[in-house]
């Protein structure tokens, strides 16, 4: 297992090199000129050219890439073109709020989603199941910005319980994590239900029933664990996505997360910030996938990694 982990982590390095190269090339190839955007609408050619030189954007692309790579290997992510602030600070300021929001969203989505899934599976085709799945479908279909605005209207404007936005204290995390987690909760509920329904039809469950096990012990002791593999896959992928920040929910709640930073940076062609952020997402995604693989082996001891 440990050997496997080390191997997986070492294999990250070439992957990240490829990612860094692809990201670098893509962001430089798309039209748009940060020098022009930096110099402003009233700028003359000379001023744009001056801005370009000071940013080092006048050099050939491969040279720029090696400069970037050299910085990257020595841990220097460079400076934002737009604000001049160190990229590491821009990302550092936003990574903790994003992580907090992600964990909170996934956590409640997992708990509620799995419970809802179990209820629906146990009461299959009866009213709790229909209602449960109705809730799940609503969770998927309601756009999260709408849910966000409704939450603000209700809990901030009407009841005054939670602040409308920001990331000061735990209270400001409640509504965004609800809005973000609703869709994931719904997805998890559906996966849990269908997977659990499948498991309940298996021979070993019938065997358990024949032995006279109670329904609680059958569901929680035997069926559920075997049903969770697809759930873990879905939850893990969603977790990976959320780590990248959510532009929509961050915008609605004026939440200082990574999503809005990325969009702002792409719009401004703020190359250093975009590169660093996408690289970070790649690392996070790979690590999350690794985590999913490890969880598999706990859920099903037959899955072994060498």
């Amino acid at each position: 297992m440990w050997q496997y982990l080390v191997k997986r982590i070492i294999s990250l390095i070439p992957l990240l090199l490829v990612v860094s190269f692809v990201v670098f090339m893509f962001i430089h190839i798309i039209p748009g000129d940060p020098a022009r955007l930096l110099a402003g609408k009233e700028a003359t050619v000379e001023e744009v050219e001056m801005a370009r030189q000071s940013l080092g954007l006048d050099k050939p692309l491969y040279e720029q890439y090696f400069v970037y790579l050299k910085g990257l290997l020595s841990g220097d992510l460079g400076y934002s073109i737009k604000s001049g602030a160190p990229v590491s600070k821009l990302i550092g300021d936003r990574i903790l709020p994003t992580l907090g929001l992600t964990f909170l969203s996934i956590l409640w989505a997992l708990i509620v989603g799995i419970l809802l899934g179990i209820i629906s599976a146990v009461f299959r085709n009866r009213w709790p199941d229909h209602l449960g799945m109705f809730t799940a479908v609503s969770g998927i279909s309601l756009p999260n910005f709408w849910v966000g605005l409704v939450l603000i209207q209700l809990f901030s404007v009407q009841l005054g319980i939670f602040p409308t936005g920001g990331a000061d204290g735990w209270k400001s995390y409640i509504m965004p994590s609800f809005a973000l987690g609703a869709g994931i909760m719904a997805m998890i509920a559906r996966f849990t239900r269908s997977s659990l329904v499948d498991s309940m039809k298996q021979d070993y469950i019938r065997m358990g029933r024949a032995k006279g096990l109670g329904s609680g012990s059958i569901v929680f002791g035997h069926a559920l664990k075997n049903s969770l593999i697809p759930v873990v896959t879905v939850a893990g992928l969603q977790f990976g996505f959320l780590l990248g920040g959510s532009v929509v929910v961050e915008t609605v709640f004026s939440f200082p997360g990574l999503g809005t930073l990325l969009i702002d940076s792409i719009q401004f062609r703020d190359y250093p910030v975009v590169q660093a952020e996408i690289l970070l997402f790649a690392v996070q995604f790979i690590l999350v996938n690794l985590l999913i693989d490890i969880v598999y082996s706990f859920l099903n001891p037959k899955i072994r990694y060498e």
Partner: protein
């Protein structure tokens, strides 16, 4: 077991439905609910919600409106703008311009100290000047001083700027150059960015990138007791609905911009006032006069007659705007009102017939991806369809659009036909509202003359206006210039904006200047 699960399920469902049902019954209680403000506690603290993040707090390197007004809460220049964007003395008591318009002499105030206790004097001006002019620093304020050749320190309280060529907007540009404490400058650029030290009515407390900027009252302000607010928090809230909600909950005392579609919600409010103020933003469609059929004046005039500007204001701006009746907004220096092109389809058709385009032609309009721009372009398309001009809308993301517009080296390479865009001169001056837009020396990529408007007289006028220090003469020139350009119709002249802000009724003295900057220096909480 089943009972337990059933109970859990009902509980969850109840919670979820409570959370989701808010939309229906939420409107009822809105009106009467008071905008409780933080002042209730008596600590006189206000929150100002704005739509964008601060990009930088380096006063010599800020280009965006939000950063600029954040900076202006803590810094001042030798001169500054009043609420109508007229120049008023600030750190300079008075100034004099030589007859050849090449020397600007400032008499400095003697009673001013920076927030760190450093004295403000001629030496401080010199340190600031040197910082800006140093190419290695690559600061955007250098553009404001592009015509300045040197600075002469006459004595401790007098300085003279020498220009290498006359520039009519120079005095406005001095208002764009705030003075930083020499001690802070000594610490280097990184220090200046993170630790603003100016002379303004407010002092820096904290800036969290992407969240808030906090400033506190400067008790030692040279101009005396201007405000009774101890602390101001600027909070960037990009989402319109959330910003409005903050005003309703009392989390914010001032909200700018107030989304035009939300204004109605506050019509009968006892707690909130909607402030309307004029703006320097002019909205128009630039027409590439270098291309056929747009090279024909009659075609351009026909296009102007074919668009109903009043309808434009209602449809696109929700009624919040004025018809653009010159080449610049009424808030710009030397503005001179023109007779707008009246909405007259028959006249437009007749003009097109004279030009030989009775059956119309196919056209393309470009714009960015914002919903208001798309709405505006659709409106233009629908209006021009009445005179058989078949418009295709091409909406492009800002970076791509800017590339398409500004990279063509020669007018003949430009692909743009019509561009739906807006312009506002950064320092409210006539030069900023004309030179880059109408001088033939400023075709892209050199400037923003995207109409490729080529009129020797206009180009010369712009130079002449700069060459004189006589403001009467300047006014005459700019009046002639506006008349000429307006009649040549290089744009479809649409509208000027109205700045909309939402303000809690117990707050006064905070306003939005025509350039879209929020001024807090005289904030008073009742």
């Amino acid at each position: 077991m089943k009972k337990f699960l059933g109970f859990l399920f009902v509980l969850m469902l109840a919670l979820f439905s409570v959370a989701c049902s808010g939309d229906n019954d939420s409107n009822a209680g809105n009106e009467g609910k008071s905008a409780k403000s933080s002042e209730e506690a008596g600590d006189k603290e206000i929150t100002i919600a704005i739509d964008q993040n601060f990009i930088t707090l380096d006063p010599h390197n800020a280009g965006d409106t939000v950063s600029i007004f954040g900076i202006r809460s803590m810094y001042e220049g030798l001169v500054s703008f009043d609420e109508n964007m007229e120049i008023i003395p600030a750190l300079a008591e008075s100034y004099e311009i030589s007859d050849d318009a090449l020397t600007y002499t400032f008499k400095l105030r003697e009673d001013v100290t920076f927030h760190d206790g450093e004295p403000f004097n001629a030496e401080a001006v010199k340190v600031n000047f040197d910082r800006i002019m140093d190419d290695a620093n690559n600061l955007s304020a250098k553009r404001s001083l592009q015509f300045v050749d040197s600075l002469e320190v006459i004595n401790d309280n007098e300085v003279a700027f020498k220009l290498n060529e006359p520039f009519s907007a120079m005095i406005n540009k001095f208002a764009m150059v705030p003075m930083i404490s020499p001690k802070a400058i000594e610490e280097g650029t990184k220090y200046v960015e993170g630790n603003p030290v100016g002379t303004g009515t407010f002092k820096f407390v904290e800036w969290k990138q992407g969240t808030i900027l906090e400033v506190e009252k400067n008790e030692d302000y040279w101009g005396g007791d201007q405000t009774n607010v101890a602390k101001v928090i600027f909070s960037p809230v990009p989402e319109n609905g959330s910003r409005v909600a903050m005003l309703k909950t009392g989390e914010a005392d001032f909200v700018y911009p107030m989304p035009q579609q939300n204004v109605k919600e506050f019509e009968n409010s006892d707690d909130v006032t909607i402030d309307e103020s004029p703006s320097t933003i002019a909205r128009y469609v630039s027409i590439n006069t270098f291309k056929d059929p747009y090279s024909d004046l009659k075609v351009r005039q026909a296009m102007n007659h074919a668009v109903d500007k009043e309808a434009y204001l209602q449809v696109v701006k929700d009624g919040f705007g004025h018809v653009l009746d010159s080449t610049m907004s009424s808030e710009t220096q030397y503005y001179s009102k023109q007779e707008p092109y009246e909405f007259d389809i028959e006249k437009a058709k007749a003009l097109l017939k004279e030009a030989g385009y009775e059956d119309g032609f196919e056209a393309e309009i470009w714009g960015n991806t914002s919903s208001e721009t798309i709405k505006g372009m659709e409106f233009i398309k629908q209006q021009l369809a009445q005179v058989n001009i078949d418009v295709t809308i091409k909406s492009m993301e800002e970076g791509t659009l800017s590339d398409e517009i500004y990279t063509p080296e020669k007018p003949e390479d430009a692909k743009v036909q019509m561009w739906y865009v807006s312009w506002s001169p950064s320092s409210g001056d006539a030069d900023g509202a004309t030179r880059g837009l109408f001088s033939s020396e400023y075709f892209p990529p050199n400037g923003a003359n995207t109409a490729y408007f080529d009129n020797d007289q206009v180009t010369n006028w712009i130079k002449e206006a700069n060459a004189t220090a006589d403001t009467k003469k300047q006014e005459e020139i700019y009046t002639d210039l506006q008349r000429t350009v307006y009649s040549e119709a290089p744009w479809i002249f649409l509208a000027t904006d109205i700045n909309l802000a939402g303000r809690s009724n117990n707050l006064e003295g905070v306003y939005v200047a025509p350039d879209g900057s929020v001024n807090i220096s005289k904030a008073q909480v009742k």
